[in-house]
């Protein structure tokens, strides 16, 4: 089994997903299910804390693409935080920073949701 895990926390009205390990073709569906269930439960303010994320493949990035518009059209957003340089580099190469809020820390993301 691939080394990937995902956990959900709640901070007031913001849902925080802690993802760690390797997010690739085999584990992307776990992230998809987690995002889906947040949306189904009407949690649209989502922070994805990537501090434990070691690796991300295109399929993993695709999951974010698939849900961002749904979440935004419902008045929410998906913000990404605490990426290591290697992971950020992949996001950057594919042009994600122009579309997503990618922040240094979870705290910043929480604040920007509360403003």
């Amino acid at each position: 089994m691939k080394n990937f895990s995902i956990a959900t926390r709640q901070n007031q009205n913001v849902s925080i997903l802690d993802i760690s390990g390797e997010l690739d073709a085999h584990t992307a569906s776990q992230l998809e299910n987690a995002l889906k269930s947040l949306i189904d439960n009407e949690n649209y303010s989502i922070v994805v804390n990537c501090s434990g994320l070691d690796y991300i493949a295109s399929a993993g990035l695709g999951v974010f693409m698939a849900y961002i518009e749904d979440v935004r059209s419902l008045g929410g957003d998906i913000k990404l935080t605490d990426m290591n340089d290697r992971v950020y580099n992949v996001f950057d190469l594919l042009g994600f920073p122009t579309l997503y809020d990618i922040l240094d820390s979870e705290q910043e993301a929480l604040q920007s949701f509360n403003n």
Binding site: A25, S58, A59, M65, A66
Partner: protein, 568 residues
Amino acid sequence: MDNEERQSRFALRTLLETSKMLVESQDPDFVLNNLLLITMGKLLVTRGIILIQNGSENSYRVSKIKGQNSLNEDDLITLPVDESILKKSVIQGTDHPELVEELGLSEEATLFNLRTTNHHLGFLCLGAKGNKQPLAHSELEFIESLAIISSVAIANSRMFQELRLINRKLDRKVHDLHTLLELSKDFNLMVDQDEIARTFKFAMLGQMLIRTFFFALDIDDERSLISSSGLKEKPSQEELKKLYELDDVFYCNEEHDCPFLDKNNIRLVIALRFQNEKIGVVGVGAPANKEEYGSEEVNFLQSLGNLALLAIQKTMLLEERIENKRMEEELELARTIQEGLFPSPVPEISGFDLKATNISSRQVGGDYFDVVETPDGGHILAIADVTGKGVPASLLMANLQSMLHALAPIDITLSAATDSINNIIHHNTPADKFITFFWGKISECGTYFEYVNAGHNNPLLFREGEKKPVELDKGGVILGAMESIMPYESETIELKKNDVLVLYTDGVTESMNPDKTEEYGEERLEACIQNNLTKSSQEIMDAVIEDIKAYSNNTQYDDITLLVIKVS
């Protein structure tokens, strides 16, 4: 220290510090701004412009502008600049009034050529000094030096930026290749078509930065979407058909008549081929960073699409193989069940020469025959053909066999026993399952044969000296079709020496000629038996089977069962 020397030391120090600062900077904007501010400050000039050549020869972009002027930053202007001007490092406004006029400067203005050994970059333009005096020689030298240093710094930083851009493009290429490689490995491990399609979708969304995506597949001429994202509406069958008619690489701004593409804002449609057949069609919406699709994206999409298609083809072949294997096993099981039901060896009955055989076809039909001794010393002969093939047929056959064996020792008439069997079969099997069944009992003394025919091919009784065989056709409807309302009829015939009774299933008479235009038929069967009547049961049986094989050129579609009994 006189004034002049102090000034030149100051100039040298400024040059040194500036050059250090400029050369270290990788930001051309910073370099140009500093160049302009330093020179204006040094010469007490109130108007200054930096022009940077913009692509074509005479076109310049206003990069920096200070002081009052009608021009603005980023304006594009065309200047009357020729070779003679470009050769000079300092251009006096008095020599080229038309040039400085274009720039909104007076004739006292001076232009400094910004250039490296190979390239002309632009001009540093300085207006008249505050005291309207021409520039002193030392001042000209100072600015010239600064212009050279700045030009080198700009060229360096441009090169640096260009390298950085190339590096980034390379990084991106490496990432693309890495994605292809990784997914080809991932696909290889997947055996589920949906998982492959879903992974393909997410990889496309992430890699191309898109929201809208569809992947259509043609499986056995059935076209359908197997994965999609962000679609407002699914395509109709008609629209799917149109998607398959588009060019292999189709940009949707070209003319087309598939409304599905416009409704969902699809920008690019790519065909995926397997052995030159168009199996898949992939469509993508606009990239979110607004870049248009170029040949690199098309290549990537085709490569990844083909990987996914191959992986899906592989899973289908695998499924097919598993299915074939399962069927093979099922047939083997049916064959085993069937073989277990036939009496082995076929019992001998004193006063009779009895031989029977079953040649099962590849498909395994539902043929059955049996010979059972009854407690009163009689013998039951039975033959049956169950509808269908394979395991279901052999199970029903097993059912019939156990009923027959249960009823044989009981003292009831054949007719009543047939009623019971029919009712049980009718209640226990689906409406489309029937059995054609014939059974008869040779009396203990061997003189009488009582039979019931429930819809089976009429057994044939050949008698010495008679041209046509007697057909044993008394009985009733096939088993399992309806409940017994009318009792099954039975008939008793007397057996005479050298009588030959032949029981067979339709696999015998329905054997086909090689053209599949004509069946073997009863006439050929009768003739064949008639010609061999004087022989033993084994020989008669062999003759019939040889005749069928010759007629059908050894091609068998159904089970063949034959039972020959001769009164000795």
